[in-house]
């Protein structure tokens, strides 16, 4: 008998990925609607009401400047939340046993969850972009290829981080600590609502240590053609972190940390 075939691997991967997509689509009121509602409020309050008083930011209308940042914020939180809640959910319900007993290789299990997270992240990103067009219909994407590349890479990166969080999580508290106390502050201070050029020198230097700044600004480069940071440096760093987190996730799965006794 031959070892597991490529066709079998593809079927198992598709099964897990479609299960993950079906999961967040089944609860679309909890997964797809909230970002649309929250972002609409941001656009109304910060874009239409306060935005005109702020004026321009880096040569763009404030609402226009905010759009890439708000899309990125949604992509980051949703891709992370999807994987952390789904993988912790299968651990909690013990349905992870279905995966571990099956002949699926570890990398397929990881890829299936990551593709689920990426699908939700990208879908939410598209939804928020469509919402933004209601408030700024004349918006045009400057560099579509770069925009899509950063969108997907960001969703992969934060899906991987959600996966690692879920592996170590022992309770539902553990899956909300990092999004609440680490991700959210870093995102808000990562240039979603402002350009770091308006900050005093000290805080500008401090902001440069925030990894979210690179993700948000690279995406802004793709959508608006402006950035506070080097694009090649940002893309390299995102790719390096994806490599590191992928290796770490596979190591955790191989060693059975958090999933096997």
């Amino acid at each position: 008998m031959n070892d597991i075939t490529n066709k079998t691997i593809l079927i198992t991967l598709w099964t897990l990925t479609s299960k993950e997509i079906r999961r967040f689509m089944r609860i679309w009121v909890q997964t797809l609607v909230p970002p649309a509602v929250t972002m609409s409020l941001y656009f109304v309050i910060f874009g239409s009401l306060i935005g005109p008083r702020i004026g321009e930011m880096d040569g763009f209308d404030y609402v226009q400047f905010m759009i890439p940042g708000l899309i990125m914020m949604s992509v980051i939180t949703n891709s992370y939340a999807n994987v952390v809640s789904s993988f912790y959910g299968v651990k909690f319900q013990k349905s992870i046993e279905e995966l571990l007993i099956s002949p699926m290789p570890h990398w397929v299990i990881l890829l299936g969850f990551i593709l689920g997270g990426v699908s939700r992240g990208v879908l939410v990103g598209i939804i928020v972009y469509c919402v933004s067009l209601i408030f700024y219909p004349e918006f045009e994407i400057a560099n579509l290829a770069l925009t899509l590349l950063v969108l997907v890479l960001t969703a992969i990166l934060f899906s991987l981080m959600g996966f690692i969080n879920a592996v170590f999580a022992d309770s539902f508290d553990d899956i909300s600590v990092i999004p609440t106390f680490v991700l959210t502050p870093l995102i808000y201070l990562g240039g979603v609502f402002y350009s770091i050029n308006i900050l005093p020198e000290l805080w500008r230097q401090v902001s440069m240590a925030n990894p979210m700044l690179y993700v948000v600004n690279t995406f802004r480069e793709g959508m608006l053609g402006i950035s506070d940071v080097s694009i090649s440096f940002s893309l390299t760093m995102i790719s390096i972190f994806i490599f590191i987190f992928t290796s770490l996730s596979l190591y955790l799965l191989h060693k059975g940390i958090g999933i096997r006794e």
């Binding site: 597991i4 079927i11 319900q93 013990k94 349905s95 992870i96 046993e97 279905e98 002949p103 006794e261």
Partner: protein, 304 residues
């Protein structure tokens, strides 16, 4: 040369807290066998099953499923193994039909190929009418059936059931026994752990007893039952008695005025007892075994 569905050699498991759950057990289960693995709580049954299904990491030793080592040929070994875990392990929020179809997909069976298999399996296990119900709405018995459907959908050659009938009513238990006998007759090797010793006696041809991480018995069911020296009988009397009669060669105890209890060694004949009782004017209305024979043996084995 005999083919073995499962070969375990020197299997050891030490948990991180230092508990040695398995102390180097070795076990062989023949192809086509219906094997009972018994043991008290904490004896090491679930650790053994966990290691076979790769849910528990072993400390040392080897496990082969139909000659495929779970370390070297893990994908093939897993593809011919089905496990029904002790605890419910499916997503409670999915539909019954989706759970089984997805499980088939995890074994590389496409949706179109899985469809007729899933229909047949759900019908066979009485779940077809509930196929569109969310799993969490099923009763305990139906959840158990769903676990079995999931474990069998890829037609494994070796099926391991970890207490499959725990908490299941008698009628459903009997139905499950018939179903398991049928799939065993069709060629699937089955290993069963259970606390219902009657279940093991009814279904299994061979038996292993594990205690404190060691195999203390590994033999045929017939051989094990032959080791039983004494059987207890309960006699229901037609007329009430005030004290137990004295009959040579038998120890009789009065449980209540209409019930006599006795133990008969395998050298004695119960006919002699009936004759003697008849001679002193005691008529027996009916008779039954005092307790499950295997239960007595089991307690004896794990006491040693």
């Amino acid at each position: 040369m005999e083919n073995f569905a499962l070969e375990i050699s020197n299997l050891r498991k030490v948990y991180s807290g230092g508990t040695e759950a398995l102390k180097g057990i070795s076990l062989k289960v023949k192809e086509g066998d219906f094997y009972a693995l018994l043991g008290p709580n904490g004896a090491g049954k679930s650790s053994t099953i966990g290691i076979i299904g790769t849910l528990v990491t072993k400390t040392s030793g080897t496990v082969k499923i139909f000659n495929y080592d779970i370390d070297q040929n893990v994908s093939i070994a897993k593809s011919i193994l089905g496990v029904v875990s002790q605890e419910i392990n499916f997503s409670q929020f999915e539909k019954v039909i989706d759970i089984v179809t997805t499980q088939a997909g995890f074994y590389g069976i496409t949706k179109s190929l899985a469809k007729p298999k899933v229909e047949m399996m759900l019908k066979r296990l009485g779940l077809w009418d509930k196929r569109n119900d969310q799993a969490r709405t099923l009763s305990g018995g139906y959840k158990r059936r769903l676990m079995i459907a999931k474990a069998l959908i890829h037609e494994p050659k070796l099926l391991i059931l970890d207490e499959p009938t725990a908490g299941v009513d008698i009628e459903l238990r009997r139905e499950m026994w018939d179903f398991l006998k049928e799939i065993n007759n069709n060629g699937t090797t089955i290993i069963l752990t259970t606390h219902y010793l009657e279940e093991a006696e009814q279904l299994c041809r061979n038996i292993g007893i594990i205690d404190h991480g060691e195999i203390v018995v590994d033999t045929s069911m017939k051989d094990l039952l032959r080791r039983l020296d004494v059987q207890g009988f309960v006699l229901d009397l037609e007329e009430p008695l005030t004290k137990a009669p004295k009959i040579e060669g038998f120890e009789l105890r009065l449980e209540d005025s209409l019930t006599l209890v006795t133990a008969v060694s395998k050298d004695s004949s119960i006919n002699n007892l009936f004759s003697e009782l008849n001679n002193i004017g005691i008529n027996v209305k009916s008779m039954r075994n005092e307790s499950n024979r295997l239960e007595e043996l089991f307690i004896e084995m794990v006491k040693k």
